[in-house]
């Protein structure tokens, strides 16, 4: 195994297998994955900060087996911060916090292409700082139908005095984040609220929306997965790569762009590849910054 030691922020990280194509089809190597995360760091780090990371590792590339890792690998360097969080069997586990560039690159070097984080920070695991609508299309529906649902959702939320922010999932769907950033927010509330919204959407757009989990009901519809609003669930972090054939990114979009893309009618045009994600972030700034700071209160609950 080839290794090179790099110095970042006064820490030395040993990077391995740089030349390995983790995305074999475009020949996108581990060095390029690290370069992507290095360049997007300023934008992604605030969204990862103090959140218990779930690693999704693809040691042999995106077309080979992967594994989830909620525990911070025991061999982690001392400078990777960790937090005690509740694991799957309600037992405490030690999770990685990606609070620095070094930690981000160390995690990327573990071939954790995808970075999944909870909606709450490790210090306040029961306080979601956003509510999420995870829009998941059931074939033959595509991201186009998701965009239609997202645009209806946007109007519904705005009439309730709430702002939402969309991003691509980097796979087939869209995520709409509703920032809360309030200490009195609870997962009970976000779950009830998002579920009630999903149910009313299904009622009014029965051919487009489904609020229930059952897969066979999803055919041709968009499943609004409200159940992601849970302390035990994680979402793909904004700006994270996805392990698909191409290195697509879960990338924030402007509502206007979503409207435009929706009119264009080509599902492929929604996908944002790594280089485009960097170019956009550098030109437009972090379209998701409001998610971190905007304070909103859920009404009627």
């Amino acid at each position: 195994m080839s290794r090179n030691i790099v110095e970042i922020g006064g820490r030395s990280i040993s990077l391995s297998n740089q030349e390995k194509a983790l995305y074999p089809s475009p020949g996108f190597t581990k060095a390029q994955v690290l370069e992507y995360y290095g360049r997007i760091a300023a934008f992604i780090l605030p969204h990862l900060e103090d959140r218990a990371l779930t690693l999704k590792r693809y040691p042999n590339g995106v077309d080979k087996p992967f594994f989830y890792e909620k525990r911070c690998p025991t061999h982690h360097p001392a400078w990777v911060q960790t937090a005690e969080v509740v694991g799957d069997n309600s037992r405490p586990i030690t999770a990685c916090l990606v609070n620095t560039l070094e930690a981000l690159l160390w995690v990327a070097n573990l071939a954790s292409l995808e970075l999944h984080v909870p909606l709450a920070r490790a210090g306040s695991p029961k306080t979601p700082d956003a509510m999420v609508f995870d829009l998941d299309p059931g074939e033959p529906a595509t991201i186009l139908e998701c965009a239609r649902v997202a645009l209806i959702l946007r109007e519904l939320l705005s009439r309730l005095g709430l702002a939402g922010y969309p991003k691509t999932s980097g796979q087939k769907g869209l995520h709409v984040f509703v920032p809360l950033n309030r200490q009195d927010a609870t997962f009970d509330d976000t779950k009830q609220f998002s579920k009630a919204v999903a149910v009313i959407m299904q009622k009014n757009y029965p051919d487009l929306v489904i609020a229930r989990m059952a897969k066979e009901l999803r055919t041709g519809k968009v499943f609004i997965n409200w159940s992601q609003n849970d302390a035990s669930k994680t979402m793909i972090c904004v700006y994270s790569l996805r392990a698909r054939e191409m290195p697509f990114v879960s990338c924030p979009l402007e509502w206007g762009e979503l409207e435009h893309l929706s009119k264009l009618g080509d599902p492929d045009k929604f996908q944002v590849i790594h280089a485009e994600a960097i170019r956009r972030a550098e030109a437009m700034g972090d379209l998701f910054r409001e998610v971190l700071v905007k304070e909103q209160r859920l009404p009627h609950i």
């Binding site: 109007e155 519904l156 897969k215």
Partner: protein, 261 residues
């Protein structure tokens, strides 16, 4: 080898005591299926049903009764049953040794392995080897999960195996199963012996596989590729639509939205 025993204690006779664990020797090869509701794929649960009152009976309302005659029962409590259960025991006491050839397989019920615990390895090996050489088995009484079993401890390829045996009253008599005795001529006997002799082989169970299991496995693999699995709804979805205030507000907003379109 780290094994999960279902019982641990000692196996003993005269002055010998060997600490052992009892572990399963076979795992059922059957592929099992869950029963699902074909409407929403919910896995189904079994409930006790009272046909008279046409309602589900809760666990606290269920008791046992011994049927004396049709519709006549003798109720019996768990405590009463427990009072006649054998005492738990940490020993498998071998009471006699027998010749394995004398045990008809009809008596064999369920096989287990005995695994030596720390300190018991040497005596274990010795017992296994001597029993193998002499084709002997130890008969013992063994209490497992509130039942007392008659068991045979024998040697199988260097390991001690334990078979629970059927009690003799459980084995149904073979009377009347075989045809009445009659004359068999020597020529017929010879022919039969010859045909059997031609087909003799060493016992090699590895040659045979559970064909149905293989086919079911193949079928499952194929289906896994062809279709996405169905998913049961989560329990939470059975609840109401949400807080009434919120639902009312959402409905109003939705109406306005549709009107302004």
């Amino acid at each position: 080898m780290a094994v999960q025993g279902i019982w641990s204690g000692t196996i003993s006779f005269s002055l010998v005591a060997i600490p052992v664990q009892v572990v399963k020797a076979v795992s059922p090869g059957r592929i099992s299926f869950r029963t699902l509701h074909n409407k929403d794929w919910s896995p189904l649960a079994r409930r006790m049903f009272c046909p008279k009152q046409e309602q589900i009976v809760l666990p606290g309302e269920i008791i046992r009764g011994y049927e004396i005659a049709p519709d006549k029962y003798l109720p019996i409590t768990d405590e009463e049953l427990e009072s006649v259960s054998p005492e738990r025991s940490r020993t498998i006491e071998i009471v006699e040794f027998i010749d394995m050839d004398e045990v008809d397989p009809i008596y064999f019920d369920h096989p287990y392995y005995l695994v030596p615990a720390k300190g018991g390895e040497k005596a274990y090996r010795l017992l296994a080897e001597v029993m193998a050489r002499t084709n002997r088995a130890g008969l013992a009484r063994f209490v497992l999960a509130e039942r007392e079993y008659l068991v045979a401890v024998k040697s199988t390829e260097g390991a001690l195996t334990l078979f629970t045996l059927h009690y003799s009253e459980e084995v149904l008599p073979a009377d009347g199963m075989a045809p009445k005795a009659g004359r068999i001529d020597a020529k017929g006997q010879g022919r039969m012996a010859k045909s059997i002799g031609k087909m003799m082989a060493d016992f090699d169970p590895g040659k045979y596989a559970d064909k149905r299991r293989e086919k079911v496995t193949e079928l499952l693999k194929r289906k896994m590729k062809e279709q996405a699995p169905v998913e049961a709804p989560t329990m939470e979805e059975k609840e109401s639509e949400g807080p009434p205030d919120l639902v009312a507000a959402l409905e109003e907003v939705m109406r306005d939205m549709k009107r302004s379109r």
